[in-house]
Structures are given as structure tokens and as C-alpha cells.
Symmetry: D2
Subunit: 415 residues, 4 copies
């Protein structure tokens, strides 16, 4: 009997009993996820948040394994061994395209990590050779599931929806690592609340409150952890570093940096292997070299990140008037800060519950179906919302500086 | 009122109310500890073990804060604000000299991380300027405490003994991160079991079983986590990489690698700032570059580490005869593996309870003192022990290889 | 130094350092709380819910101790040692008037447990002698605090409001005992979110989400645990037993039962000591004797409770029409069930957040005050709501019985 | 599909999928276990220890379910559905014969709870009718398993040995309820360490340390919780109450007490239904009536228990000389305490690891078997040991009493 058991702080034990899935874990492109933090720059806010996407991917796999075990026992689905492998492999590999501090790269380069996930699955030879051992279509089907092409609608919604194994694992794992209780919910019961009917996944009507707890836990994780102003400010800093490096390259400067990063910044990625070589050790090492670069802006920004002298966040209600922003930029310049890299505005979106397109469907004992938001007043309040934030060097707000009064009056005017 | 509160997965909250100590946290040399894993290569065995020395250092500080609060309430010691700061600063900074995968460096270069801790405290200008704000002697006194020079014996034993704030924090933190219960013990009660008398720390006789639990938890962490054969094998791999790089440099080869690592390998560290620039991102990036080095041994070893193709551990009872080892090395060579880098023997020491020199003293209500080992039969069994292990590439044991039978017969002969 | 430390599953350790408060713990009227379950009949739904009001009272005391420690450090209040003792004693004794399955008694006899709390504090000689050792007014002031007479408004709101030490402890304790995560929230942070200003307690505006989490945890505990239909059905059974016994007494029957219960049922309680002798062992023993009573109704109901053959709950949306209820009662009679004891309707109130009268006030750094519901959309959805439930013997719904179809058609008509 | 899921604080969820086993849960004799505390009088030491034998019995069942699932997957045993039911039913019912504060009754009456377990299984009509539905031999086979008659040796050792589902559940449950970490161990891993070979259960040699942790956790639970002097003193008090009541009956006194207790004390139990009616509510009610009995000794002892004025424990090293005890008894008499009920000596046995007869066998990958104690030095130190303790009213040690000096000099002489 093939069996590998991994000790896990969230699920206690993670079990592999299919050699194919274990082979996927041992592919270099997957091992690379050990060098990508699950929560990006959050470790600068919550010092416990050092857990990796590797751990989360294993956890998403284990959650899928338990979900399928439940659905098989209770609903007789899935029975097709290939579909089961597809579901488990998709859970395991869904994040394989994440890069270092992923969201910052997406913002700077305009490429989604999902696209990298699809490319790696299709193009990485080591990964491909494992997947092709199933059959010629398996890698492609995996990408189809991840792209939600509706060939395997039930599996797809377990992989990517408002109630998927990805979220189920990461909320518990992020809560555990940071030490907060905000993300906790009743996992075993939530899994048992799922039901399969005619090709789709539903939540049993009687488990309404269990799903409410899960969605509210998600809300609290967003407002308390994921969108913490210090974390968003750290992301902004990483983005500004990358933008500065990109701009310098575009200006023809020769900037010392690891080759995989240069390729990414120059959008020269015909070969996916360059991307796979890019992990957080490479990016942090790039920041080390930037911290010794002659360009004062690049050097200063990199040092700020490495030594955690982060931007100050100013949370704003409503949008920032164009004039205000212009005045802030002028003042920054007057204080010696290049506004393109030192005055940043970000809109943060709290996702809430999204009824459009892909709501969660409740199904009662009589087969009646309704959207979760119809049944729950609480959930109806969780409409997606946004908040605007301004990020500046702390020095610009320091009363010791003669111009800081002007900055403060603009920055806090929106209140 | 000055107050900074950090959320922590072990102690719930970590509290700073002295601006001096908070200033120490914000020194670059301390922030660097975010980029050093607490458990070195253990993340390759327990995927949860990604927590940093930064988090542990904060936890050791918080534990010291609670110990001092207890002793002040119950024993009226310490009262001197400078001694309190000394104790707290020592707890915070005790690991500041750790390098990436620290123990492997110590083994390769023969320099203890403690020496780096002392040098950084004395030589890092940013750290020094904070410490000197207390008084001219403070930095030096800190080093004296860490060196156990017996000027502050009670503080010293709280910082470094068999029952110190370092171990109290790391056992709980390592247990929490890996998800095992082996390292758990009753922290609050253990703290209350401490007492101060006439310049020394004792354990109250009535709390014998609480200390037993703590020492057995430590034993289990060693046998189950710290000395896990897969982890030791990962350390061996790192060591062999570093030794190979060092050997190539000594042979006059020009090996591309980050400057701080070159300085360390060449023992060219007159300036402590080079050492401070060396963290795990730098080392991992070095491994990335090694993985593209023309030297086949360096390249192969680096790839093994990055892709987690680790050495196979063979645990042995008793010592390995010299002849056996020689034969193994010859066979390795015949199989195409340079024995200096592919056949490694390591002796692992399980520390147990050490009665010599620095045993724990119990003190009963009548002031009678005895060594812990006199009172506890259980503890007397925890004598330090050692175990020998052999590490080889998995290929050498693979039955598919014609020479593997010989390797196996030697490797497993000791049983 | 006086110090008593109790090990606690919720707060780890509970600390007494005031001999007066410890003396209160050792008064028989307080020890009696060991024989009263915190969650009444919930143990019939959640088998873990066996924890006592004794444990909860200690926990409320410990929570108050931590709240006061925080407020003293941060706001310089309270400073008066008598007020501190008053707050701690009130937290400790706030539930001393609870009887066995308290809420059922309140419903049957129309006496609130709060009145018993006040009487016991004022009339129990052992308790009184401890309290009078402070001063002549102390016992009376304690009752004034519990009655919220506004002499000590800040203490009063910490004892009894929507954010008091009572709820803070019981939510965590009930969650821990039952094993559900619904009631978890960030206690330490919630405590630090409290602030004192000009005689009142406020929540800091910046901690809005921490209070949201706490109030939503409360909501989930109500819908998932406190108002669980099986639990409410168990309460109904206890009530019907007590009503039947009361009715039989009123009819002049001589029913064997423990004397304290007879006194309570006959409302013959001029002496509070009778009430103090009434605990759950006495009531359960009464049920044992009822289970051998010649009256078939009393006997049957008592056996149902002891052997957990509970009433079936039928949850209804909207109110039950008078005609339906009349028809149900007639049918019950025809099936051999006396409708007064076997057909019960209960309205359950989910408390939500109550803005009227005693809302929670947020206070920002500039001293601006607003009601929590103004700041939080989520909280505004937590308006108190009610749900009606019908409780019947399972046999009445059993398809095997010829009349059950009629019962079912009425019972489920409201859907 | 039949499925009942119970929420549990230890195992998260307890699953029933066999209607027969669920029917056993609903038998009155099993529901009665809700009214028996798992840890007897320990709640007087650890206020969290209110959990019931009902909860523990469910937990032992769930642990057995998981053990069997593991063994079936890995070893292909058991396959016989009847043997599986036997194992699960035995786990569920193994404690059904426990009475209130069981160990005190065993001591006073000389009847083991195991005998009651066997009688109830064979004689209780409701239970019997469920069991007989399997087959005529099932109830008898159940008793044979519980008696370890070696017909089902593997099942028997899972039910009752040094590594059985009983201990696995109660250590975790008792640790969780009291809030101590002493009893924690790696349950899932311990279960996976079990293996079945040729009709017997073994522990895999490679899991040595996992069993060590479990056995040491057990040691710590004994020294810190189960044999806590305050708990043993509470047991002594219950015993002395029962002995006094028995003595008074023997002297022909008519003592008011519940009938089931009278029957037990008079050894008049031809019908097992009397025993089933005896639970902790009945015993506590008896103590309430004793607290109003004219006999001053019975009254005083009962009040001491109800109001927690417990005996003072004096822990002794070595045996108490006969002369000392005689002198103590004389002094007690002189102080007005009847020595038969107020001077009690108890020997407490710490079980340790028992190699004789039923040691745990390790089995390595090559099939070599050895006793656990051969492989583990730690375990060899866990030899059973005993400790003698003397219990007296606190008043006898009170310095205010003129004779207390003599008591103290005798009581503490053994040190």
C-alpha cells in the first residue's frame, strides 16, 4: 500500500495514497512553492505569517481529499478515478504559478498568476511528464478545470468559487500562522454541508449558519489581515521598487540583478523555466543588490523594505480629489521625494459575498434551490466594498519637517 | 504611555512598553532575523517550520518579561531598572548572530554564532547607538551576560541554562509551527515555579513534575524534530555545498556567488556588516547560481537542495568501523560520486539533562537545595546520548544499480 | 503574599490575590454553583456542555481582573481599592442566584434569577459575614451594582451590558466545552479595545472590527448552541414536568419530592436557605422520584427527560394560528397526550445587537462618540429577531400512528 | 445512508453509521452515564473536570472506529462485520457499570465496576434487546471481550491494555477538560503506529517515541491530576461518609436516603435495575439529606463535602509506623474527631509501565518482536510506585488548637 503522511499544523495529517499525486509534489516547480510565502509581505505586519504556498497547496489538496470522501459516501459522486485525480491534482497545483510577492508583480507587469499556472502545467517538462503518465489529455484538462471551462462544473466550483478548497485551507492556515481567531470556522461541518446534485455542488439549506460563519470569517480576515494598511503599504513599496527598476532599464541603465528577475521585468519569458527560477530568495537578493545600486531612489526604496522602514498608510473615506493628489505630488517633490515612487494611492477591495454570476446555492431537503443571499440577511450586508488609501514616506508626515503641515492637511482632508 | 502590541501565535500578544527595547527591534541587524529560519533546514521535513528567528527572539523577550514580572511580585527581584533592561535586551538579542542555516556554517567554518552575536552587539553602529543611549557600559554588559561572565548570575541563567527563556519559547514555537504536540508544556506554571534567592534562580521543589514535563518535552523535540534524519541529511547537503564552494575557491576557481557569502567562505570578515548582509535569501540565491555552475559537483548538490532530492539517512547503532567507511567511499567513487561530498557520517547528540556544571537546582520551602537529578528518577535517565548516521545519495542504495548491494550490505551492517 | 492560582481551560490560570475574594469562593452558597450547569439542558444536545456556573463565575472574575488591570494602566481608573473589590466581587457573584436549569424555573415560577442573586447576597449569613468585613454598605452596594442603579456606571456596564465580563467569559467557555468555534473571539484585544472616560466605558473606534467579531460570535452561539431546537425542547420538557408537579400539588395530591423543590413550587421561600439547597442534584433526584410516581403524566415526562426521549421540535416561520393550535391540542388528546403537557409552543428570541437604551459607544482619538450601529453595517443587521417553535412527543409525528398525518399537516403548515 | 454526527471537544466529530450502535447510545442504562462524572471528585481540584463518562464512552467508541479504519486499510483486519461491531460495542459500553464516584464505592463495598458492567450487559432488558438483535451470543461475547477471555485477543487488547482506546480517549479528554497539557499526545500518529499480525496488535518499532510520549503523558496525568492529593482527599471524604452510613445501618439506625443507595450499601442488589438508578444526582442528594441527619458525624462529613471543606492531605515518604498512627488516632479522639472517620491513611499507586503479563510489544519491519521496555530506557524508569498519604481535618493541624502541635509532629515526622 502506497502511503505518505505529512504532519500539518492545520489538518494534523495530510495523506497521499496515490503515487501520481506524490510525484507531483516532488517536481521542482512544485518544490519552488516552498520559497514563496502564502501571504506575501504580511510577515512585515504579522511576524508569524511566514508560511509558504507549498504548505497551503498541500492543505488545499487535503481539503479536497476530505470533500471528495464526504461526497462519495453521501452522494455517490465522484466515481470516475480520472475525475478524482483531476480534482486532487487541480487542488494541489492551483497556485503553482504564483511568483514572489505575487500580487505586486501582477500589478506591475499586468500578468495574472493564473496565466503562469496554466503555462507551467502545460510547458514545464518535469511536471508534464508526470501528468502525461495519466493520459495525453490530462494536463490540458487540468488547465480547463482551472480556467473553469465548464467541462467539470462540480470539480471546478470546488477548486474556484466562493466556497472552494483553496479558501477553506488558506483561511484556517493564515489564522493559525498569524495567531488570530478571525479566520476560524467549522471545517468538518462545512465539508459535510456540501452536497452534489445533477452535476453541481450545493450547500444544504439546513447548514445556512455554517456557511454564514465561513463567509464572515473571510470578511474578518480581509479587514483585519489581508488588507491591513501596513501590509498594503509593504506591497506598495515592493511595487515601487519594481517599477523603478523597470523604468531604469527602460532608460537604458544597466542595473545589476538576478537574471530571472531581469527577464520578467523585460517581459522576455518565452521560456517558462525563467519564471520558475524566480522565487522570494531571488527577489530578496535583488533587493540586497538594489540596496547598493548607485541610483538613489532604487537604493533607498530597497533599504526601506529590507530594514522595514515602511510607508505610512493614510486610510481615506471616499476618493481623493485630483487636485489634492497633484498638490501632494508637488509637495513631495519639494521635500525631495520623487512622487512617482513616493506618493501612491491604492484602492482596496473587500470582496464580501458576490451574488453575481457565481453565488452559492442552497438546496433544501425538498430540492428547492435559492441563492445564499436570499436566505441570509447577514450575508446580504457583505456587499463588496472599496476603500482608498494613500501611502507616503513617514518623513513627509513628520512634524519636524516644515512642509509636513501641508502634507497632513491634504492627506487627512478627506475625513 | 508607550505601548506596542504584536500578535503572536504562541504568546497571543507580545508587549513592548520600553521605547529602548522597541528601538532595538527596529535596527536593521535585528530585522535581518526575519530572513533566517528558526529551524534551519527543518522546513524540508516539516513543511510548517518556516517561522523565523525574528519571531523567536520576540518570544524569548516576552517570556523574559513574564518571568521578571513573576519574580518581582513574588521575590522582590529585580528592582534595578538597568538590570531589567539588561535582561530584556539580552533575551531579545541573544540570537542576533545567527546566520542562514546557522549550524551548517558553524560546522563548515568553525565559528560559533555566539561569537557573531557578541561582535554585532559591540560593532554594529545602528545597534550600538541604541544601546549606548542607556550608558557606555550597556553594550559591553550585554555581552558579558551572554558570555555568562557571572556578573549577573540570575539574569545569565534566565538567558542561558537548561531552563531559560530561549528554550521556553522555542520549544512551544517549534511545536506550534510544525504542528506536533511533543514540545508542549505548562509555560505559565513553569514560570511560577521559578524563585530567586540570594542572587540565584531556583525551581521550587513542589514544582518538580512541571520541570520534568518541560525537560521531557525537550527530549521529545530532539528525537522527533530537531534531530530528524531528513533534517540532518538536509544540513549535511548544505554543508557539502559550502565545503565544495570553499574547496573550489581554495583551488583558485572563480565561482559566481553573492559577495557576503564569498567573504564568509574566505574568512574575510574584518567588517561585521558583511556578515549582517548574509541571510537565507542570499544563501538560497547562491544555491540558485551554484545550480548553474560549470562544476558538476557543486551544480548537482545545489540542485538536490533546491529540488529536495535529499540524501538518504542510514541510522546506525554504534560507531562505523574505519574499514567500512573506506570501502563505502571506494564504492561511491566507483559509482561516480565523489566521496568527500557524497558520503557523510554525522554523530548526533541528544542533549538530555546535563548535571555537570549547570544543573537545575530545586529549593524547598525550608531552603533545602538539591540537584533536579537527585529528586527525579525520570530525569536521571535523560543522560546525553549520541547516535551515528550515514548520509548517501538515494541512488547509491537503489537496487537498480549493480553496486548498490555492496553499499547496502555495508550501510546496514551495524544493525 | 497571598496568592491562589486555579487552572482553567479558558484563561489558563485564574489568580486570586485578595483574601476577601478568595473567602467569597469558599462560601457554601458559591460552592453550590458547582452543582448548577452553565448551559442548563444543553448537555442533552452537546455532550461536552457539562461545565458549571462555578467555573463561569471564576472566569467572569478573571476577565474583570484583566479588564481592570488594562484600564488602570491605560486610563488610570479605577484607583479606589473599594471600587476594585466591588467590581471583582460583582463579577464573581453575579450568577449566585441561578437555580437548576434556571431558565425553566423562571418560566414556571415567574421569578427571575437576578432577584435570587440579590436576596442571597443580602440574606445568606455566611456570604454576608465575608462582605460585611469590608464595610456595612458593601453588600448593599454590590446589589446596587448588579441592579444597575447608576452609582458606579462604569463598573455596572462591565458587569452587565452588551459587552460585559459575563458574556466575554461564557462565550469562550461554552465554545470550548461544546467544541465549537462559533463563540471564539480575540479576548485580549477586545479587553485592550476598552477605554474609560469621564465615568463611562467606551470602545475605541479603531477597534471596531474586534467588537464586530465579538458580537457576531454571540449571534452564532445563539443560533447554533443556545437556541438549538433540541435544547429548547429539553427545557420545555423540564418546564412541563415542573408545571405538572405544581398542578398536582395545587390539586391537593401528595407528591414525593425533595423539600427544597416543594418549597420553591409552593412559593414558600421566606428563608433563602431553602433556595440555596436547591441544585441540579436535587432536581434530578426529584425527577428520579417522579419517574416512580403513580401519576402517569408526571412519571412519563420524568422518564422522558432521564432517558433522553425528548420532544420533537418543529421550527416555524411566522406565528401559529390559534385554530391550528386548538386542532393540534384536540388531536393530541385523541392520541392520548394531555395537551397542556405535550403540546408546547415557544417563541425564541435571538438577541442581536440592541441599540435601544444600552448600545455600545465607540470613541475615537478625537473624543467623538457614536453608537456602534452607526459605524457598522454588519451590526445593524443584527436586529433582535424571534422564531416560533412547536414541541410535541415524537410519537405524534410517527407515520405508524393513524392520526399522525393530521398532526404533520398542521405542524408543517406554516412553511 | 444512516449517519449521526456528534460534536465533540476532543475528536471534533463522532460518527455513527451503524444503527445498532446508535441504538445502544439511546438505552437508558447508557444515558445514565451522563450523570456520572468521568473523573469522580476531581472537579473539587480542577473546576473544569465536569465531563461525563457518557462523553468518554462516545470518545472511546470513536477512537476504536479510527483504529479499526486504520488497521483495515493497512493490515486487512478486521473484515468480519460481527467482530467490528463487537469491538465498537465493547468500546462504547466498557464503562457502563461505573457508579457515582466509582472508585470510592469499590473501596467501601468491595465490588469492582467491571462486574457491574458485565451484569448490566447481560441483565438490563433494554440493552439486552438491542444486543440480542445481532444474535444470541452477542451480549455474552461482549462480556467475554471485556473479561479478556482470549477469544478475540486483538479486540481485547484494543479495549483493555496499556495502549487501549479507553486510555487514548480519557487522557486527551481529561487534559482538555482540566486545561492541562500533561495528557496530550499525538493521537493520529499513535493510531497509525498500531499494526496487526497473526491475531495480535503490535506497535511498529519505528514509532517507539510516539508510544513513549503517550506513556509519559499518562505518567504526568497520574502525578498531576489523577492522584492529586486534594482529589484523593475528596475521595476519602466520600468513602468515610459511605462507611459511616453503612455503619449506622449496621447498628440498626434508620437513616433517610434514596432507596438505590440503601440497596447498594446493604448489598441487596439481586436486581441490576437498582444499581442503574444510582447516579451522582442520587448520591449528591443523599449527601444533602445526610447533611440534615441527626448523627453529628454523618452530618458533618456530608457538609464538608458539599461545602468543600476537604481533609488536609499530608504526603509521606515511606510507610507510617503503627505507633504513630495509634497516637494520631488517640489525639484525634481527644480533639473530638472519631478516628475511624477522620484519620485516614491511603496508599496511592502510580501505575507506570507494567512489563509483567501484558507489556506492549514492538514489531520491526523484519518481524522482530521485543517488549517496549527493552527498547526504551525512559520507559524502564516508569516502574509502578506507591506513595502514602494521611488525611485529616484541617482543624487538627490548625496552630490555634492546643493539641495541633502533637498532630503536626507525628504527621510530618516521616520527612
Amino acid at each position: 500500500m502506497f502511503e505518505k503522511v505529512l504532519k500539518d499544523p492545520v489538518h494534523d495529517e495530510i495523506l497521499f495514497d496515490d503515487p501520481l499525486l506524490w510525484a507531483l509534489v516532488n517536481v521542482p516547480a512544485f518544490q519552488r512553492l516552498r520559497r514563496i510565502r502564502q501571504l506575501g509581505t504580511s510577515f512585515l505586519t504579522f511576524h508569524g505569517a511566514e508560511h509558504s504556498r507549498f504548505a497551503h497547496s498541500l492543505g488545499a489538496y487535503e481539503t479536497m481529499r476530505r470533500v471528495l470522501y464526504h461526497l462519495q459516501r453521501e452522494c455517490g459522486w465522484p466515481t470516475d478515478p480520472r475525475e478524482i485525480r483531476l480534482a486532487l491534482a487541480a487542488a494541489l497545483l492551483h497556485d503553482i504559478g504564483h511568483g514572489p510577492f505575487s500580487h505586486t508583480f501582477e500589478s506591475v507587469l499586468g500578468v495574472q498568476h493564473e496565466e503562469w499556472t496554466h503555462r507551467i502545467i502545460l510547458e514545464d517538462p518535469a511536471l508534464r511528464s508526470v501528468l502525461d503518465a495519466v493520459d495525453d489529455e490530462f494536463a490540458l484538462d487540468l488547465v480547463r478545470v482551472l480556467r473553469r471551462e465548464s467541462r467539470y462544473p462540480a470539480v471546478e466550483s470546488l477548486i474556484s468559487s466562493q466556497l472552494d478548497v483553496d479558501r477553506m485551507d488558506y483561511m484556517l492556515r493564515d489564522a493559525e500562522a498569524t495567531g488570530v481567531s478571525y479566520g476560524l470556522f467549522e471545517l468538518a461541518r462545512l465539508i459535510r454541508s456540501l452536497t452534489y446534485w445533477d452535476g453541481r455542488i450545493y450547500v444544504k439549506r439546513q447548514n445556512l449558519h455554517t456557511v454564514e460563519q465561513y463567509l464572515l470569517a473571510r470578511y474578518f480576515m480581509y479587514v483585519q489581515v489581508y488588507l491591513h494598511p501596513v501590509t498594503v503599504g509593504s506591497d506598495v513599496l515592493v511595487e515601487n521598487i519594481l517599477v523603478r527598476a523597470k523604468d531604469l532599464i527602460a532608460q537604458g541603465e544597466r542595473i545589476a540583478m538576478p537574471e530571472p528577475l531581469r527577464r520578467v521585468l523585460q517581459d522576455d519569458m518565452e521560456d517558462v523555466s525563467w519564471y520558475i527560477r524566480l522565487d522570494e530568495s531571488v527577489l530578496l537578493y535583488a533587493f540586497h543588490t538594489f540596496a547598493e545600486n548607485p541610483d538613489p531612489i532604487l537604493r533607498d526604496l530597497a533599504e526601506r523594505f529590507l530594514h522595514r522602514r515602511l510607508f505610512a498608510p493614510v486610510v481615506r473615506q471616499g476618493s481623493t480629489p485630483v487636485d489634492d493628489l497633484a498638490l501632494l505630488r508637488t509637495t513631495a517633490k519639494a521635500m525631495g521625494f520623487h512622487p512617482d515612487y513616493y506618493v501612491s494611492l491604492r484602492a482596496c477591495k473587500i470582496p464580501g459575498y458576490d451574488v453575481i454570476g457565481q453565488g452559492l446555492l442552497l438546496r433544501d431537503a425538498n430540492g428547492r434551490v435559492e441563492d445564499l443571499s436570499q436566505a441570509s440577511k447577514l450575508i446580504r450586508t457583505l456587499v463588496p466594498s472599496r476603500e482608498e488609501r494613500l501611502f507616503l514616506p513617514k518623513e513627509m508626515l513628520d512634524p519636524a519637517h516644515p512642509l509636513s503641515a501641508r502634507v497632513r492637511s491634504i492627506a487627512y482632508s478627506a475625513f
